[in-house]
Amino acid sequence: MKRQTDIAVIGGGPAGLSAAVEASSFGLKIEVFDDNFTPGGQLIKQTHKFFGSKKHLCGYRGMDISKILLQNCASAGVTINTEACVTGIYGNILAVLYPERFEEVESKAFVVATGASENCINFVNNDLPGIYGAGAIQTLMNVFGVVPAKKVLMIGSGNIGLIVSYQLLQAGVKVAAVIEALPNVGGYLVHSAKLRRMGVPIYTRRTITKAEGDGNTGVNSAVTSQIDPNFNVIEGTEIQFDVDCICLAVGLTPLSDVLELAGCRMKYIPELGGKVALHDEYMKTTRDNVFLCGDVSGIEEAVTASLEGKLAGLSAALYLSHEYREKIEKSRLQILEELRIFRDGPFGEKARKGNEKLVREYKYER
């Protein structure tokens, strides 16, 4: 007989773990499946204190928030399967691939919290060793304590680019510059100010055109150029940086394959970073027993991922049992209000617009 569970949560980052904890208070059997050997998702490599408010554990460093979430899971009796790579949802069956075996798990409901993958951009020799995604640098540096370079050029000035640059400095690595294609820094001014006062220049309207190096030692230089408002390279504006590492922090794409495979209706929403599953405001997809949360429902950040996780967990619990309907509906409204307050500023605009589009489309589909 197949192993059975009430709710299978796919992904053990802030969204998935929050969903699991939230759903566990209704007497349901919850299992989390995470493909990494340490659960916690991207939280485990976040060494900075988080923004938000007290309710969202602001002021704690991301890595410590993951410990809190994991403790909450443990005391709620949530099972966490690690090195458990979900390859698909087939009807009520979850297909899980472990390093040395394959398993089918039967579940009544699914919460998909698979996160996102890092984007790459096009430039000459962009496949050279020594060119990393920002998440890779964070893993090496903050999880394993390994630095891949002496001097890094950071591409992208969103919050990830700015934060990882700062973390590189903390690890004793030099940051030659941050390069941004848009006219303005993308992330928070407080993050860019931290870099600037340590002497790191930030070049806007500039892009990387070429990496140089070889297979023996990897990257040894990066060539950048200014670009015009149409993103065309302006000749004669090259600046070359002698660096042994290029870090790409140029955005993320939702990892929504599992949702598509499960038969959820998908839609490409640029504000959310790519193809996402249509869902209602309570995180239910077009499949009644499939819910989603976190970056897979649109690229945002850890606090909103956790809040969406709570919503998805509650919605999955409600789908399975109406016993606690009133309580669940009340909690969901509270979380929706928290999300609204968090996204209320200019940095929440993309998520607001993207989610409005999704929910509108979802209602139309129904």
Binding site: S53, G59, Y188, S192, A193, R197, R205, F342, D344, F347
Partner: protein
């Protein structure tokens, strides 16, 4: 198009001068300078202040405002600001040409009292040398140490970072 675009990511001069406490209030006590000039979803500074000097009245995205008449420069907000955007500045009453600034510092080596360090401006340029007056490395700061360094009072609005002369091994 000139390539003057390496100068991004700095706060606006007008915002900076508005954030600085007045000379009169500085004569009373040290004061916090909040260099948080964007609407971002964050409010721990409000709860950090035991005197209720920092306010965000609506939601959590509003920019914080500080009432300098209530602030006594205790610097509890300095390490609790996740953006490391709060500093405390003060003037030495016995020698008004000298002052000090407290900055959040998350680097090694941890400075020691009496040590001479380079003082940097917002662009990382050395503007003078100064002596470390105090280092708060308590459990409460949770590794965001609060370092207080002596600065000429004329540079209080410019000094924002330190560079150690000593290196880790």
């Amino acid at each position: 198009m000139s390539d003057n675009t390496s100068n991004s990511g700095l706060p606006d001069e007008k915002d900076i001068s508005r954030a600085m406490p007045s000379a009169e209030s500085l004569a009373q006590s040290p004061k916090a300078v909040i260099e948080c000039f964007q609407e971002i979803p964050c409010n721990p500074c409000v709860e950090a202040c035991p005197r209720g000097a920092i306010k965000i009245t609506e939601g959590i995205n509003q920019k914080p405002s500080i009432d300098h008449s209530l602030c006594n420069g205790c610097s509890l907000c300095v390490y609790q600001c996740p953006g490391l955007a709060i500093f405390v500045v003060g003037i030495d009453r016995d020698n008004p040409s000298k002052g000090f600034i407290s900055i959040p510092y998350e680097f090694l080596p941890v400075p020691e009292k009496g040590e001479i360090v380079d003082i940097l401006d917002r662009e990382g340029v050395k503007i003078e040398e100064g002596t470390i007056l105090k280092v708060n490395d308590s459990k409460a700061t949770d590794r965001t140490r609060v370092v207080t360094v002596q600065v000429s009072s004329g540079l209080l609005s410019r000094a924002r970072f330190i560079e150690m002369k000593r290196r880790t091994k």
